[in-house]
């Protein structure tokens, strides 16, 4: 199922971006996109826990509003939350409409056309900081070797957020998580501004922001911050 060629492209890009000018939210989006391509899934989303253990959406591979909503509503219940709490992968290869585990999540997922869900813990040794979520619109089992590969991608996301391979300082986790959560807020502020100016929905506004950052070769984080501080704007037509 997972192509070695696609996977090697992922690692090249990861190595490229884990250096200077690192842009966390943009990196997580790219990682989600690679994970979706590598595993042939419809959508991949990344969730990060705050200091209270509540999960928050950070990045996804998809522009589908329905799938984005499914990622975002998992702060209260769902495979990601279960995965985060247990520290173990959660895998439902064939989601049935009547699956009672997640009474708020499952009907919405089914209605959105999702037929398989998998969640992988983002962890560093014994600390779990979030979860990587995979959706597909067909029943999709994961072979053990595929589980290992997607788990490795989740581990890369963890390292990107914590910026260290081991949590040697207890304070590092707090510092990095608070920084990551705030970076996401900057993006949301910029999305709102662009959506209001252009009449687009917020998710399309985000795609415009990313596209403008890419084509002008500026960091997504810097562009978002500039939009909010009023020193930059993006064409919205």
């Amino acid at each position: 199922m997972i192509s070695a060629q696609r996977l090697s492209r992922v690692f090249v890009e990861v190595a490229d971006t884990l250096v200077a000018d690192f842009d966390l939210i943009d990196f997580l989006h790219k990682l989600a996109e690679h994970t979706a391509a590598v595993s042939d899934a419809a959508s991949v989303g990344l969730m990060l826990a705050d200091e209270d253990g509540q999960l928050h959406y950070m990045a996804a591979s998809t522009e589908s509003a329905k799938h984005l909503e499914l990622f975002q509503l998992q702060h209260a219940e769902g495979p990601c939350l279960e995965c985060y709490r247990t520290g173990r992968p959660v895998t439902v290869a064939d989601l049935s409409e009547g699956d009672a585990r997640w009474p708020a999540f499952t009907p919405r997922a089914y209605e959105a056309g999702v037929r398989s869900v998998h969640a992988f813990p983002m962890r560093l040794r014994d600390r779990v900081i979030g979860a990587l979520n995979v959706f597909d619109e067909d029943p999709m089992p994961f072979r053990p070797e595929d589980v290992k590969i997607v788990q490795a991608l989740a581990d890369v996301a963890t390292i990107a957020i914590i910026q260290e391979r081991a949590i040697s300082r207890a304070e590092t986790l707090t510092e990095q998580l608070q920084g990551a959560l705030n970076s996401r807020i900057v993006i949301e502020q910029a999305k709102g501004m662009i959506a209001q100016r252009s009449g687009l929905d917020v998710d399309t506004a985000f795609e415009r922001l990313r596209a403008h950052a890419r084509s002008n070769q500026v960091r997504l984080a810097d562009l978002a911050r500039a939009v909010v501080s009023g020193s930059a704007d993006i064409p919205t037509s």
Partner: protein
């Protein structure tokens, strides 16, 4: 046996506790932001058994001046950073995240050669700087000082993050504002909900105001109507509200 749903979620419980402590500690004769922030510095110091705390405001170029502190010594410790032009509070603003240094004597001169020696000589063992930020806007920094190694344990850190969030709200609202009829803590807290910040961006453009003003107006509107901030944000994101009457 009480079910887990009966106890308030830890975040809310911390938030309510912190606000209660602040209201109790604030000096009776100082109104507005300064009184509220001073109450916050004193409440934090007592509750967490640290040396003290100070809040400074940021301008476009970084930390700019102490607004209040738990005592004169901590005010002076903050000012040490300003005269050195460097220190944890500067880095927290620059990097947009807390800068936590529990062992200043060990790492301070490496990070901040112009600042650390003076603080260590004054008895400081730990400095914990929390930017009072909401995405792209940073209103100030909360600096917490410790004089004993091992300060700010996990639980202490959670409470300090709560105090930092409340300090941000005080700077936004101009005081420690009560939530009216809402359950304590429910309406006011700046949660990590995306819609609040999307709405902020929309109001910035719709009303042609800056980021701080937009969020302050949203909060004022929510307080006046006893509405949770998130509910107002959902109305704004849904296109049903643009705060035209503010």
């Amino acid at each position: 046996m009480a079910s887990p749903e009966d106890a308030p979620p830890p975040r809310e419980a911390r938030y309510v506790l912190a606000r209660t402590l602040i209201a109790r500690e604030r000096p009776g004769d100082v109104v507005g932001v300064v009184g509220a922030v001073q109450g916050l510095c004193q409440a934090l110091t007592t509750h967490l058994d640290v040396l003290g705390a100070a809040v400074n405001l940021t301008s476009g170029r970084g930390p700019a001046g102490v607004i209040a502190a738990s005592d004169d010594r901590c005010r002076q410790l903050d000012e040490l950073q300003f005269s050195a032009g460097e220190g944890p509070c500067y880095d927290s603003v620059l990097w947009g995240r807390p800068v936590l240094t529990p062992d200043l004597p060990a790492v301070g001169t490496g990070h901040w050669p112009g600042y650390a020696a003076g603080a260590v000589a004054a008895g400081v063992t730990g400095v914990f700087a929390f930017p009072l930020q909401v995405g792209a806007i940073c209103l100030g920094v909360l600096d917490v000082y410790a004089a004993r190694p091992g300060s700010l344990t996990d639980e202490g850190l959670l409470m300090t993050l709560t105090f930092a969030r409340i300090a941000t709200e005080i700077l936004l609202d101009g005081d420690l504002v009560e939530g009216g009829d809402l359950a304590p803590g429910l309406g006011a807290a700046l949660d990590y909900r995306a819609e609040i910040y999307q709405a902020q961006g929309m109001i910035m453009v719709a009303r042609n105001v800056g980021a701080v003003e937009a969020l302050a107006r949203m909060r004022a509107h929510a307080f006046a109507l006893n509405q949770p901030l998130l509910a107002l944000a959902l109305e704004i994101v849904g296109g049903r509200q643009r705060l035209e009457d503010e």
